[in-house]
């Protein structure tokens, strides 16, 4: 089906979220909808899926105007949404999840016909090449497979127009590649696809047509053939963006972090960091690459005092930091940007200022004699907000109300405001828009140039290659190779990430 949105406008108190946006997608076409956080992508899709009514503008399907009063009507019209955060019940199996809300029934009482449901799910997954075990429990599935279940769910509801909202945000590079295969297959079969993302290389890889949104309006339309990453980024941000990090060569000096034969167990008692040794020198960035779940999380937790080590030593600038408290690690001069900022990095329900002092509230000048010094806190927080370009109405705003990029800036500001010998940054730009990524990379390189040792852990190959002076690759708990940035090519690192040496 051909879908067309014409001059959609939606005003929220204080923001014009969609300003006369027109987009269209043909049968069997993949439309890449590109835009930063807050560009209006999500509002537009909520209008398309019947959650919001537009203030003005039309939705046309195959040339006929349609009005959606609620999501059920949008689904009926053939529009299927796959949300960024999956809407699945963990204890259900795949078959149940797919048919939920539209179950096949049998008998006079209309009881659930599991056999029929299972058969339909198997048939659908065969037809579209979405391989998934119909009897597996959702909670036992990796995220990439859960996403397939979501897509199956939309297809089961006979969606001709599939909307994927930031589908790669939670996927590994391999899973993303598989997703692209699925998308291409679906498009070939006649499904129209709207692919929402802020990642430039993804739209270039998978879209037939690209529409870029900026500040609630269409900033431009193009095709992958005509577009370059740089041009797309410029359209998206509204100014020229540096996609590669501009930096001089590292001037590595003395060793700051020395990790020797470290072994760490995970919560289930399994050995997940296996005899890992490396060092990071002052003035250099060591980037640790690897597919999510190969021990990087536990490695960082052990280095920052959040997880006990099994054996081995961690020495920071001559001071033994093996199995000390997170507070000791912080006061020893370690800045830690945690992997999961929502869980570890900030406290929602507290203000920007309070989050700024999260791990230094007990130190002067922020407090003395057990009493917080609100003036000093406000002054420092105001300064940090200004220095790190945090977009917030005030320092007394609940951090939960900030965008992801600005939340991360608060965390980075907090960690870099202390005396820093070592920076440990885990997935520092996960889920952020291009502008914020550029900014945070710049700040991390600044720390290195000021003489700090930097350890970056990232599953994004681009990030690893852009920032690392040396690149270490973790696979199944071991460091399977440490390459100098000159030797670290995409192919070599990619192979090591897959556990293939040589």
């Amino acid at each position: 089906m051909r879908l067309e949105l014409q001059k959609i406008t939606k005003q929220f108190p204080g923001v014009l979220a969609n300003d006369r946006i027109s987009i269209s997608v043909d049968k069997g076409q993949v439309l890449g909808l590109l835009g930063e956080n807050g560009a209006g992508k999500t509002t537009l899709m909520n209008i398309l899926s019947g959650l919001y009514r537009p203030d003005s503008g039309k939705i046309l399907i195959d040339g006929k105007e349609r009005v959606f009063r609620d999501p059920a009507q949008a689904i009926e019209a053939g529009i299927g949404m796959v949300h960024q955060h999956f809407m699945l019940v963990p204890v259900f199996d795949v078959t149940e999840s797919v048919v939920l809300g539209n179950e096949p029934t049998k008998g006079p009482l209309g009881s659930f016909d599991r056999a029929a449901a299972r058969a339909q799910v198997v048939e659908l997954s065969k037809k579209h090449g979405l391989h998934v075990d119909p009897d597996a429990k959702i909670e036992s599935l990796p995220v990439g497979v859960r996403q397939r279940v979501e897509i199956l769910k939309a297809l089961y509801r006979k969606s001709d127009i599939l909307v994927l909202d930031e589908p790669s945000a939670v996927l590994t590079p391999q899973e993303t590649e598989e997703l692209f295969e699925i998308i291409r297959g679906l498009a070939k079969g006649g499904t129209s696809i709207i692919f929402i993302t802020h990642k430039l290389n993804e739209v270039i890889a998978v879209a037939d047509k690209i529409t870029v949104l900026r500040r609630g309006a269409v900033a431009g339309e193009t095709t992958p053939k005509k577009a370059t990453s740089a041009k797309l980024a410029e359209m998206m941000v509204g100014r020229e963006v540096q996609l590669t990090v501009d930096r001089s060569r590292a001037k590595a000096a003395r060793t700051i972090l020395d990790v020797d034969r470290l072994r760490v167990l995970n919560d289930e008692g399994k050995l997940v960091v296996d005899d890992v040794s490396f060092e990071v020198k002052s003035g250099e960035i060591l980037a640790v690459a690897g597919v999510q779940g190969n021990g990087q999380t536990e490695l960082v937790e052990a280095l920052t005092g959040l997880r006990a080590t099994d054996s081995g030593t961690i020495v920071l600038d001559g001071v033994d930091l093996t199995n000390v408290s997170p507070r000791k690690v912080a006061t020893a001069g370690v800045a830690h940007i945690p992997e999961d900022r929502n869980r570890d990095g900030m406290v929602k329900g507290m203000t920007v200022a309070e989050n700024f002092i999260l791990n230094s509230y007990h130190l002067p000048p922020f407090s003395s004699g057990g009493v917080l010094n609100r003036r000093e806190i406000a002054l420092a927080a105001e300064r940090a907000v200004k220095d790190f370009d945090v977009r917030t109405p005030s320092i007394d705003t609940d951090i939960a109300n900030l965008s992801g990029g600005n939340q991360q800036k608060v965390i980075v500001a907090r960690e870099f405001s202390r005396g820093v010998k070592l920076v440990i940054a885990a997935q520092p730009t996960r889920g952020l828009d291009v502008g914020s990524i550029e900014y945070i990379h710049k700040r991390i390189v600044e720390q290195r140039d000021a003489g700090a040792a930097v350890l970056i852990v990232s599953t994004e190959l681009d990030e690893v290659l852009a920032l690392g002076d040396r690149v270490a690759v973790m696979y199944e708990g071991r460091i399977v190779g440490i390459l100098d940035s000159k030797q670290a090519t995409r192919e070599r690192v990619g192979l090591l990430m897959g556990g293939i040496q040589k």
Partner: protein
């Protein structure tokens, strides 16, 4: 201006919720009038009039019971300075405040625990053991053994110690072995009330001299907790200003001290607290000690001062009412004080309503529950006020968003 506006915004929802709760409560009073319903077919207009009259009478009695009768105030003004007439006029108002005092203490106590993410259901038990501590101190230090101010300080300290001890047990168990505080505090509530019963039955030191009834000795013979009103017969004493001071102290502690910062962090996000180097165990135990100490202080002052005797069931329903108050007051000390006062007025006013109109006290508890329900469901309240029928039939935009998940 902006602070006024902030206060106004903070009060908007509770005030509207209360309004709606009374409205709905009125409908129920109306519908439960059996006489009216009998006449409804023969004389509909008269019946409805009588029903509305009943609602008016009920709420009128509630207001007079809570704040006093305007006519009596008139008499008092006319009498000039006649103490007896004045006493009669202001007694309902004073008693309402008296009723709110234990609610303020326990409401503040459980709020500190809630802020730390601990669901301390044990306010009742901590209040009771605090009362036992206060009683013990009164018997030990009162009756001229030490100067009166010293005795009063000892009563307060014993009360704090008793409540803190009773809260330490579940706090310790949670911190050490992860025992659910909900279970342990509920169990300790039972143990506390049986313990009180046991001592007033069996302890020669505590039980009344004749040892006929399961009650303590008359504490007013040992210590006189000073009143704060110029009229002797009105029993509002220093417990009330101490309650208000406690609220100020709790507010300062939570929002100005580093320890309070730690507790709030732990309460909002335990993982981030760990990241920030805040120990979960010490936060739990600290919060419980403070939480129990405040409830215990309330128990000691209320029993020695206003009740003047320790008896089984001292804690009454204070524990559960205080939980509601803490939640309605959004665990903010100012909110807790305001809500506790409202509940005190409702309790006191309800007595007169029951006497005058034979409407059972349950109806008032029903209204109280409605207030809580409406505050807990702000969307519903706003929708009802906008359009009573739409509010019930259609979901608000917010719930729609969630509903799609």
């Amino acid at each position: 201006m902006s602070t006024m506006r902030k206060i106004g915004r903070a009060l908007k929802l509770p005030a509207l919720s209360m309004f709606v709760a009374f409205l709905v409560g009125g409908v129920f009073i109306f519908l439960t009038d059996v006489e009216m319903l009998k006449q409804l077919t023969s004389n509909p207009l008269g019946a409805v009039g009588a029903g509305l009259g009943r609602v008016g009478a009920a709420y009128g009695a509630l207001l007079r019971g809570a704040f006093g009768d305007p006519a009596t105030y008139g008499d008092a003004l006319a009498s000039g300075g006649d103490v007896r007439v004045w006493t009669r006029a202001v007694r309902p108002l004073v008693e309402s405040v008296v009723a709110s005092v234990p609610l303020i203490f326990v409401g503040l106590g459980v709020s500190v625990a809630f802020r730390t993410g601990i669901f301390n259901i044990g306010g009742a038990g901590q209040f009771a053991i605090g009362a036992l501590g206060g009683t013990t101190a009164a018997l030990l230090f009162g009756a001229g053994v030490t100067p009166a101010p010293v005795a009063i300080v000892m009563i307060m300290l014993f009360g704090i110690a008793g409540g803190a001890l009773w809260a330490f047990i579940p706090g310790f168990l949670k911190a050490r072995v992860g025992a659910s505080e909900v279970i342990t505090t509920i169990m300790l509530n039972s143990i506390a009330s049986q313990l009180i019963f046991f001592v007033v039955m069996n302890s020669e030191f505590i039980q009344q001299e004749q040892r006929l009834q399961p009650v303590s000795k008359e504490l007013s013979k040992y210590v006189d907790i000073p009143g704060i009103l110029p009229i002797e017969a009105l029993r509002l004493d220093i417990a009330f200003p101490i309650a208000l001071l406690t609220a100020v102290a709790v507010s300062y502690f939570l929002f100005r001290s580093t320890k309070g910062f730690e507790l709030r962090t732990a309460g909002l996000n335990l993982a981030a607290a760990k990241y920030a180097g805040i120990g979960a165990s010490s936060s739990i135990i600290t919060a419980m000690l403070i939480s129990g100490g405040i409830s215990g202080l309330g128990g000691a002052l209320v029993v020695v001062g206003m009740a003047k005797q320790l008896a089984p069931g001292v804690e009454g329903s204070v524990g559960f009412t205080a939980i509601a108050i803490a939640l309605v007051g959004r665990t903010r000390p100012s909110g807790v004080v305001a809500t506790a006062l409202v509940f005190g007025f409702l309790q006191q006013g309800g007595r007169l309503m029951q006497i005058e109109t034979i409407i059972p006290i349950q109806m008032l508890l029903f209204v109280q529950a409605l207030v809580i329900a409406f505050i807990a469901a702000p969307d519903l309240t706003m929708q009802i006020l906008k359009n009573p029928f739409r509010g019930l039939s259609r979901r608000s935009p917010n719930s729609k968003l969630k509903g799609v998940s």
